[in-house]
Symmetry: C2
């Protein structure tokens, strides 16, 4: 599908023969104190889009600006739409669903972005991809690299959860832990591609990361029988997933396949609320210190914050903030009362639904359809359970021990 | 769908008003020295089966003896069929696929059995399910229990991998670690249900575990465009997964949907080769000590060994044995060269394909279609990487450090 780029901030349009990352005019203004400017939006050709309205079914690949070769080599998409019946009853939301992107190949939503980046790299004859990541994007890109035989150079803060780091090493990526923050790793990955070449896959910096993530919305549309939910809850750190979810629904609307966008809700931890704060106050300055335990959404300078705030307004969404304790409770609630095992960042979205549940019914009625986007498997960070959950003591190997344990 | 039970060993037929587990006549002969007798095979009503041949598409639920209420509450099935393009090229098997059951809700194939057990329990008015497990079956049943609000009582050897134990605790099961082996936990779980009631879900002991596992074959049939592979590789411990895979294809054949069964290959570790040995020699005595690192398939007295051996012959399959070192190499090869991250037991199946690859092409030609069943995610046992894979040292946070690291 043909496309151009449009700067999210100044609206300038760019043609697409070469790989470009940001609007040079706006990016020049970035000084690290407020949300970065200059991110590009992929604008699909309107004529091409309109042809999709005739199709009986659409897939994510119909909406991608690059072709993905042999998608089954790295099978992204087709994740279950779970109906957590017990939670639906508990909170009185009859039409409640959870999109289990925790079941994607590398265990997180980030596989959606990495899939399109493979298409971008191969279309431009590149077989080397560099990126910075707090863990999940790195594991996803490394997984894709293993599937297609691409070289992945991954800069990560040395403090990232061990399972996430280990995964990327296992996939065969060149992993470079950095004695610094995610922002530091981000800068070093750009230094790498500027000096040594290759595609840079940094989230939001490369517009194809947002474009890949939109696939979830197209999938939801088909999975729900060519309808979309009334409200979608998204866990938010740098705003890139939020923008991806928005973009998928936006393209469906542009294609004439849906009439109305869902309300997309930005859920953040109070300990990492840069985008929520900006949406509420109009103040786009970075926050001092993001300290949430949900490492995947712990962000001081949200790389895609400006676009996310704009999109919250455009789809008549809102921002909901939750405490870290609510996130950890939500994680256990999903596991114990729905059999859904996700990492804290994913549970943040569910904590938002819990917090808003009464208001949702008041605002939209009891038939409101609510979808919660669950972005990463619980296995990604087992250390979070230390001190919260423990394994019971062993019993002796005898029938008497069993009777003693259970006799009332 | 209507059904009866047939004893695998004596052929006696049993009606199905009540929950029954084993043929009482044959089970009485079991003394613990040779593979247990008396397992029951679910025989679907032939008339009911024949009606399925008229359907444009079939699902696992068409073939189940019990109804599963609200399947989306615990979304089992629909796992990706990956095409590992690099490995296909490396081993010269053009039509190579991997069934990623590692992406099921609790991270293993065992979800397939637990789903049908939920249907069985609810049909018989039971809300309590007890079982023994080395880890994966327990996590799967606990996951299902959380989704449906059922009480799960789980007996596990205290030595099971920590992530597997932790998962069951997180799902809210009553976890009872036992100072003993899996066989000890098996006996105690039966002592529990005999005394306190509830459904016993022990693998193979409850025939519905095999019946649930057959769903993978029905899914494969539809996923491959109403065809089945020529050869299917299955990792084997107690023989229950093998029997489930066989049973799914068998029912498809009985329904008139396929003409020929695939060759189903039983892959075992040399350090846990009870079924392979029995198939090769006719000696059904238990092995002394199963010592494979692939904990999910480490079995001395295979609970479903007799049925598995019979089925290997019926589908013209065979047994392939691999070293533990080949299993661990296969695990890394899948991760690094296909982006597929699985636990050692699952990698055992791939090690079998690697070992047989030349023979497969000689025997069936270069167009042979080979499917590898990958049964559990790599996250289930991260300790297996200790000493094999390590995370590189961190670099300083500077552009110079990046240049020094990559300049040739």
């Amino acid at each position: 599908m043909r496309f151009t780029y449009e700067c999210c901030d100044c609206g300038n349009v760019f043609e697409t023969g070469e790989v470009i990352y940001q609007c040079p005019t706006c990016a020049k203004l970035n000084d690290g104190t407020s949300f970065p400017k200059g991110n590009l939006i992929v604008k699909l050709n309107k004529e091409d889009l309109k042809t999709l309205a005739q199709k009986e079914h659409v897939t994510m690949y119909d909406f991608f600006p690059y072709e993905v070769p042999t998608p089954s080599a790295y099978p992204v998409g087709g994740t279950p739409l779970a109906e957590p019946v017990r939670l639906a009853k508990k909170y009185g939301i009859k039409n409640l669903s959870c999109k289990l992107d925790s079941t994607l190949p590398s265990g997180s939503f980030k596989d959606r972005a990495s899939q399109l980046i493979v298409g971008q790299a191969l279309a431009h004859g590149e077989n080397r991809i560099a990126l910075a990541s707090t863990g999940n994007a790195g594991a996803a890109m490394s997984c894709a690299g293993a599937a297609y035989g691409l070289e992945i150079i991954l800069f990560v803060p040395a403090s990232a959860p061990i399972n996430k780091l280990m995964q990327s090493v296992l996939y065969g990526a060149t992993v470079v832990p950095v004695k610094g923050t995610y922002d530091d790793a981000f800068a070093l990955s750009i230094a790498y591609t500027e000096r040594f070449g290759g595609i840079n896959r940094n989230t939001a910096y490369n517009p194809m990361t947002i474009e890949g993530k939109k696939s979830i919305s197209i999938e939801l549309f088909e999975q729900m029988g060519r309808k979309v939910p009334d409200v979608v809850y998204v866990p938010v750190g740098d705003g890139c997933i939020y923008a991806g979810v928005f973009k998928g629904f936006y393209d469906l609307k542009e294609a004439g396949l849906i009439e109305k966008m869902p309300h997309i809700i930005c859920v953040q931890s109070k300990q990492s609320n840069a985008i929520s704060k900006a949406w509420k106050t109009g103040d786009f300055s970075c926050i001092e210190a993001a300290t949430t335990r949900a490492d995947s959404i712990s962000v001081e300078s949200p790389a895609n914050g400006r676009m996310a705030v704009r999109y919250i307004n455009e789809c008549e969404g809102w921002a909901t903030e939750v405490d870290d304790s609510e996130i950890l409770d939500a994680q256990l609630e999903l596991t114990r009362e729905a059999g859904i095992f996700v990492e804290p960042a994913a549970a943040c979205a569910w904590a938002g639904v819990v917090k808003d549940s009464k208001m949702l019914i008041e605002k939209f009625g009891k038939d409101v359809s609510v979808c919660t986007l669950l972005t990463g498997t619980g296995f990604k960070d087992m250390a979070v359970f230390t001190g919260r959950v423990s394994i019971p003591e062993a019993i002796e190997n005898s029938k008497e021990a069993v009777i003693k344990r259970f006799e009332k």
